[in-house]
């Protein structure tokens, strides 16, 4: 029976049907649901790894050990895993290994929109790109076969639109392969220079074999139509092309590295005009140009953002975009916000109030950079807050460090903040690091991690004690505060910033969505006392508002969760508990 599946579920299903028994990942939008889904199947092992590098190493070990293995991450996660990736490409696999790279054109939920097809070329990997959920499942299965046949990790590259769109999928039978034998083979798996030289030769042979394979595989296919225009495309963009240009000839590439030169040449010869339509980088176009084939592409399309059917219709068919009614330009925007009761809100309110320089990090709390909190100066990548704070201190001196904090979440700290904190101690920085411990990986939808003490399958495990670990690193000044107690937080910050040695403040309170506590008391605004100063609006909460020209604040009982933050902000004691 066919049913609707998001692309991510289909990939999990494909891996399961291919007989994969191990899956590992660090959560990252838009990849997270793949391993979450995989963990629900019988007789498999699934885990959240602390970061993508560890995930890929676990996956490499499982593969060398003989299991078909799936490892997933968002595009920027592949950067974290790039070190093992490039060399695991040399060793090759035992059990098939598929690495999913979930790219995010348009940056729906990311800090950049890098095109990870580039990894295929540089790490010498076959890259497979499905265009809907059914292909996501089938191509995943095929990717495991390619991995074992060519002794290589295979990258399955998807984009947000595929990951989170639902299309019909028919479930198939599961292969029961068991795991392959493991035999010690040091020249293949120990990458000493002497052995690695031998493996590089194998890698280049493999790429030639894959190039031949690309010419004949069903992953690449021509759909002939009107030969006055030939389009080469891949991924979900193929679906847009079929939607708006139903009559043109299409070469649909399911394998985008290595590219099938002969197939592309023959397609190019048959059509009057050849255009490549690919989101982000001209990966396919540049290769075709390098072969001396006349082709167009990025002169029609941008390097930036996600494409759409209407964009392709406009650029290729010349049909003007629908101008619309323009009402959308007359209405206020609706930016995402921290949730009512969110433990991060008071932290950024306080950091801004204290006029501190804040090196931020990746998570829900990055929203603390936006109006009205505006409590962040920089945010680069996972774990960067602590290193950037140390660097800023070394550049500008200890005095500056007295007004400088690094802010990082619990999951992000475990992911890649720890080594930077070691650097702070080792190189005698005086950084004050604020760890926002909300007991989950919130932004990606509440995944567990080592410091929650619970595994992906909700089994209790040894809980990483962040406080003890920070102490072991050599931090002597450690305080645990409640981020909803603003006075306590501000005092802690003042005292720790005043020290000429490193400190860690752990702001500990679970995510407001994760552990919903029953509302015991209700707040209201005493109109006699409210002076209309709007200081309470600086917390940026949907629970408190001013309506239009009203001169007084009001509590919205539908959204307020009585976290007690705004009464602490009000200097006139105007926000009070409803009696009785």
């Amino acid at each position: 029976m066919k049913r609707l599946m998001i692309g991510n579920e289909a990939i999990a299903r494909g891996a399961y049907e291919a007989g994969a028994t191990v899956a590992t990942a660090y959560p990252g939008t838009p990849s997270t649901e793949i391993v979450t889904k995989f963990s629900t199947y019988d007789n498999v092992y699934a885990e959240w790894a602390p970061n993508e590098k560890v995930a890929l190493e676990v996956a490499a070990g499982a593969s060398i050990g003989g299991a078909r293995t799936l490892v997933t991450m968002k595009h920027v996660g592949v950067n974290v895993a790039a070190d093992p990736l490039y060399t695991f490409s040399y060793t090759g696999v035992n059990g098939g290994l598929v690495i999913v790279s979930a790219d995010d054109p348009g940056m729906h939920s990311s800090q950049n929109e890098q095109d990870n097809r580039g990894y295929g070329k540089f790490a010498k990997l076959p890259v497979i790109e499905p265009s809907d959920s059914l292909e996501a499942k089938d191509f995943t299965k095929l990717a495991f076969d390619i991995s074992e046949k060519f002794d290589t990790p295979v990258m399955l590259r998807i984009t947000t639109r595929l990951a989170h769109s639902q299309t019909l999928v028919e479930e198939g039978e599961c292969l029961e392969l068991g795991i392959k034998d493991y035999k010690k083979d040091a020249p293949k798996y120990v990458m000493l220079p002497g052995y690695a030289r031998g493996r590089h030769v194998e890698v280049e042979k493999r790429m030639l074999g894959l190039k031949e394979f690309a010419e004949t595989t069903d992953l690449n296919r021509i759909e002939w139509g009107d030969k006055s225009l030939g389009i080469i495309t891949s991924g979900v963009v193929y679906q847009y092309v079929k939607e708006v240009l139903p009559h043109v000839s299409v070469l649909k590439l399911g394998m985008v590295n290595p590219l099938p030169e002969k197939l592309i040449r023959s397609f190019a010869q048959e059509v009057d005009k050849l255009i490549v339509i690919e989101e982000l980088e001209p990966v396919i176009e540049d290769q075709i140009k390098a072969w001396g084939i006349k082709v167009e592409g990025k002169e029609h399309f941008s390097l930036i953002g996600e494409y759409s059917p209407e964009l392709i219709e406009e650029r290729i068919a010349g049909i003007q975009l629908n101008p619309g009614y323009g009402l959308d330009k007359q209405i206020p925007g609706r930016p995402p916000l921290m949730c009512p009761g969110c433990p991060h809100r008071g932290v950024f309110y306080t950091l801004r109030k204290m006029k501190l320089t804040v090196m931020g990090d990746i998570g829900c709390y990055t929203l603390g950079a936006l109006s009205p909190l505006e409590g962040m100066d920089a945010c680069i990548c996972m774990g960067a807050s602590i290193g950037t704070a140390l660097g800023m201190e070394k550049a500008r001196g200890e005095e500056f460090a007295g007004k400088l904090v690094a802010v990082i979440g619990d999951s992000t700290f475990v992911h890649s903040g720890i080594t930077a904190l070691i650097d702070v101690v080792y190189n005698q920085g005086t950084s004050t690091v604020l760890i926002l411990d909300n007991d989950t990986t919130a932004m990606t939808g509440h995944q567990d991690h080592p410091a929650t003490g619970v595994t992906i399958t909700r089994q209790e495990t040894r809980k990483l004690d962040i406080e003890a670990m920070v102490r072991a690193i050599g931090i002597n000044n450690i305080r645990v505060v409640d981020p909803l107690n603003l006075k306590e937080l501000e005092t802690a910050l003042k005292e720790e910033l005043g020290r000429r040695e490193p400190s860690v403040i752990i702001a500990k309170r679970p995510c407001a969505l994760l552990h919903k506590t029953p509302i015991k008391e209700r707040f209201y605004v005493d109109e006699e006392k409210c002076k209309g100063c709007k200081l309470c609006l600086k917390v940026g909460c949907t629970g408190i508002y001013f309506i239009d020209d009203d001169k007084k604040a009001a509590i919205n009982p539908n959204t307020c969760v009585s976290c007690g933050l705004c009464p602490q902000v009000c200097t006139f004691d105007a926000i009070k508990v409803v009696e009785g």
């Binding site: 639109r161 679906q239 708006v244 009614y325 009402l327 209405i331 940026g540």
Partner: protein, 194 residues
Amino acid sequence: MQSQTTNIMIVGVGGQGTLLTSRIIAKVAVDMGHDVKVSEIHGMAQRGGSVVSQVRFGEKIYSPIIKKGDADIILAFEKLEAARWLDYLKKDGMILINNARVDPLPVMSGKAKYPEDIVDKIKQHVAKTREVNATDIAVACGNARAANVALVGVLSWAIGIPADKVENAIKELVPAKALDINLRAFNEGYKLFS
């Protein structure tokens, strides 16, 4: 081909229950034997941002997203969001607007005004504009939280799919203890304009 495809956009504010609505409609379309594609963007959904789900069904569907100006029906859970996504509506399309107001941050903080006449402005452009007070319907049926299922009723009427087929999908997707109230809310919504 185009004429046989039905394009539905469901727009609202994160947390309003737009996802359940698109899931119910998509399930009915699958049960009726159509090719179906649904597109949603996750990530910001719980954080009060503007959210959109797109459901397309017909004989053969390629793109999971709807072209601007190609939606047959837009169901807006909130009035501002109706205006924000209006340009996706087909020329003779229908827009169903839930009479709910959720102030975005610029309005709450007094930096912008919530346009009071937004539905009237939409009506000037779109003849087939229908206003719904889903919360009132849901309260009358026993629980304000059934408002989104009341909107499923209105939407099912607008698409022209039989009520019993949608009821079956609701039975599968809604928890048993809330089922009676939800089925009542669905039927009230379905009858509203029929």
